[in-house]
Amino acid sequence: MSSWLAEASAIFAKDWRAEARNLYALNTLGLFAVTTLVLVSVGLGPMGVTAAGAQVLPFLLWIVLLFATSAGLPRAFVQEEETHTATALRLAARPSAVFWGKLAFSLSLTWALEALVAPLFLAMVQLSVKSPGLFVVGLVAGGFGLAAASTVIAAIIAQTRAGSTLFAVLSFPILIPLLLLVVELTRNAVDGATADVVLRQLLLYDGSVAVAGAMLFPAIWNP
């Protein structure tokens, strides 16, 4: 019997190998994000926003990321169920390996997306960040929360008839606390303020969702 870690790594590697063949997830995420970014930029106009209006910009960034991940991440599970490969996976891998392997895959997609979107966003809305370190920490931690929650909910909706529409309905209530925390953190990063309390709560959210997800996953994935 192989170790849990070896199984999870195999699943992570398999997902990327399959992704490399058609780039479907990356294209979906990227296209969705860029389109929304353009929309935001056009909406704000050529002069951008006033200093007072700049308060809303961190929120817009995370809305773009939220929409893009909602479009692209559920596929990790929905596709397995739709193409009937999930049966083979259920019979060959331990549930914990499936959870962490899929989470790692979603996480890498999310961070890759952020690496594309964040610089583009800052340039398009002409926003300068006073604490770039904290800004990146926010992206990393916020991205983790997005990926973790999305992994659990994708696993749930993949087994319903409804699919992706249901994903948005179910993930919105779960992601609200994350969104509020990470927007506040990002805002602090832009303003150059400290954000110890917020960061701690954000990391706690990430940890809680990951642990709860890992504990609930066997009941979600298996009958």
Partner: protein
């Protein structure tokens, strides 16, 4: 296989005596609270309309009950997943969410009516209003999830998992929301002259209301659950 029903000993099958007694007590209690809300408790001075404060005796307990409903749905869901996947626990969670949604809606309506009278606007997005809306959204999402799954076993375990995920995430709202906007909600201590300690008669009615509405919730829950179980057993027989 046909079942022969044994002849009933009376024309109506009766509930255990203590349940009947509790139900009568509940209705008595609620009646007392209702009367007390309009007569016993004094009006709160310092409010726009002296009499509008009476709505609080309903609004606060109902908001409290929607919180109770949320917790109990989580508990039933946990019991389902860890105590042998019993149908009873699954249906109990679903009923708790449905009732919770109703109480949420009522709390929101009474809250916005009072908000209009007191501050001139139906809605302000202060933290408590926001959290009750989020609770409603979560309940609705849970019910939508249930409606999207045909198989009983899958529906039960998936919705139980979602409910527990919601329970894990909810406390973060409690920490975050108060920070991001000021609160219009009065601190829960208003008295006749609008000062800090709640006047004792108002407090009595308020707490009485909280107890009464909570008991009402559990009574409704018990009845609705029994109905669901009977319906499910009826389905099984076909």
């Amino acid at each position: 296989m046909t079942e022969t029903l044994s002849a009933p000993t009376s024309t109506h099958p009766s509930a255990p005596w203590w349940k009947t007694l509790l139900a009568w007590l509940l209705w008595l209690w609620i009646t007392v609270v209702l009367v007390g809300a309009f007569t016993y408790a004094p009006p709160a001075k310092g409010f726009v309309n002296l009499y509008s404060s009476r709505i609080l005796f309903f609004h606060v307990p109902m908001a409290w009950v929607s919180f109770v409903a949320f917790i109990s749905a989580g508990v039933w869901s946990l019991l389902f997943l860890t105590r042998g996947r019993r149908q009873r626990h699954d249906l109990a969670a679903a009923v708790a969410v449905e009732l919770g949604l109703i109480f949420c809606i009522l709390a929101t309506l009474t809250g916005s009516v009072w908000s209009r009278i007191e501050w001139g606007a139906f809605w302000n997005w202060d933290p408590r209003q926001t959290s009750i809306v989020l609770a409603m959204v979560f309940y609705a999402a849970y019910l939508v999830l249930r409606s999207a799954i045909e198989d009983d076993q899958a529906r039960a375990r998936l919705s139980a998992s979602y409910a527990l995920l919601g329970l894990v995430v909810a406390p973060f709202l409690y920490f975050v929301l108060p920070r991001i906007s000021f609160s219009l909600h009065p601190a829960p201590v208003v008295n006749q002259s609008g000062q800090v300690d709640m006047e004792s008669r108002m407090l009595q009615v308020l707490l009485g209301g909280a107890v009464g509405f909570t008991a009402l919730f559990f009574w409704l829950h018990d009845t609705a659950l029994r109905l669901r179980l009977l319906a499910a057993r009826n389905d099984d027989r076909r």
